[in-house]
Every structure is written in C-alpha cells, then in structure tokens.
Assembly symmetry: C2
Homo-oligomer: 140 residues x 2
C-alpha cells in the first residue's frame, strides 16, 4: 500500500531543499517565505497574532520568521496607531523590490510539481489538496 | 495565489502531530514509521544502504531510525550470510505483533485526509501525488 503521507512528506522535503537553494541569494530561508507571501498578498499591516493565525503556525515560529525578516531588512515593525503596545508588520522597499523575483521562485516550484499535468488536472489538484489540508486541520 | 507547497507543508506538519500522538504508546516516532512500513511490506532483510535508497533518506536519517527501532526491540541486525562485514535488518516478533495496529494507524490518517473524496477522486489523488513526488525528485 502506498501511503499519501509518505508522498506528502517527500514532496515537502524536496521543496525545502529547492527553496533553501533558490532563496540563498536573498539571505532568507523557506521558513520566511510564507510570511513574505502573506504580506505580498495585500496583508501588509498585520500583527504577529494575526500572522500566526493566517499561517497556522505557533507564536514561536512567527516570532522567528519576523525576527529574521526584520534582521534582513524585508519588513519593519511600527506601533499600532490605536494600541501602541501592539506592533504591526509592514514590507520595506527592499521587500517590494524583490517581490517579483520571490513570487517567480514560488511559482517555478509549483510548475515543477505540476509538470505534465493537464490544465483540468491542475485545477483539480489544487482543490483536492485544499480539501486534504482542511481535513487535516483538526489534528494541528 | 494559493501555493501547493503551502498545503503540502501544512498537511505534512499536521500528519507529524497526528503520528506523534498515535505512536506514543509504541515508543516510536513518525521518523521510524516509514522504515517499519517498508519492512512490513515484504522487505525484511535489507541492509541500511538499501533502506536509504528505498526511503529516499540519507544515511544519517536511516541510521537514526535503525538505532531507535533496535533500541525499542522492533528490529534486529544480523550479519549478511555472504559478506559478514554487512548487516541486514529483520523485524522482531514484537514488531510483527504490532503490525496490524501500526498499519491501522497509517490507514486511519489516510482516511482522515481523504474524507469526503469520491472513490474515483481517491484513486486520482494517489496517482497525482505520485506524479508530483516524481516531479520533485530531481531536487532532493
């Protein structure tokens, strides 16, 4: 019997290797890419708690990604205009300048994975994976 | 844009959480399950190099899984009958006794992931994931 979990594990592992290699010149790792993608996707101005929720990662992992991206100058933290004990995260000019290149890397991996899939199959795969992800979320 | 890599990462992460919880009573972790599954799948008597290749994991990860399973009494190492510098890995009685329960856990996760998939869609998903895995293997 072939287990889905095994394929998923392998694809994930190979993806991390691919990303590590491609992101090296940007001085970031695969752990920071989802946060950047989230911010690029019109979510500038989130606080860390919102980021944790949207990325389904714990506070520690969020803090780590935020710290690395701050350190590399991709994001900046500003006080919340209403509650100044809270900080909000914004993309820097540097991040916006790299946006197209980073999106391209993410898309290229997608294209590698979907190589030789028919167009209908691609759409179906995206939907099915989302369903599988939703099914798995009770166990996070 | 929804990235496949993100769903894959999330499903994998949730799967590791699920497995860690379910495997606790067996004193093994998710890192050892693929090796056990391989041996259960009529592959008793492999050496570590063959295991590395079949599981697509490096020698270090194989050694770690072998060590843990030896330590917990699930496998034993015997000298190769021809080349006694080489060891081969065999399931113990304990492992065979636990086989059905462990297979059940792996199958249950599969069923959780494929919840509400039509039968045709299940087959299609297994094939598509295998194709995606193969596509990703140039980057391992």
């Amino acid at each position: 019997m072939d287990f889905i979990a095994r394929s998923i594990w392998q694809i994930n592992k190979n993806g991390l290797v691919y990303m590590a290699r491609r992101l090296k010149e940007f001085n970031i790792g695969s752990g920071q890419l989802p946060l950047l993608m989230l911010l690029y996707n019109n979510k500038d101005g989130l606080n860390q708690e919102e980021i944790s929720q949207l990325l389904s990662i714990d506070k520690g992992a969020t803090a780590k990604a935020v710290f690395k991206l701050l350190d590399e100058g991709y994001i900046e933290r500003k006080d919340d205009p209403i509650d100044n004990r809270m900080h909000r995260i914004y993309l820097t000019k540097k991040a916006n300048k790299k946006k197209d290149k980073l999106l391209k890397i993410a898309k290229e991996w997608q294209e590698i994975l979907l190589n030789e899939f028919q167009k209908n199959d691609k759409t179906h795969m995206l939907e099915s994976l989302k369903k599988m992800k939703d099914n798995s979320m009770d166990y996070k």
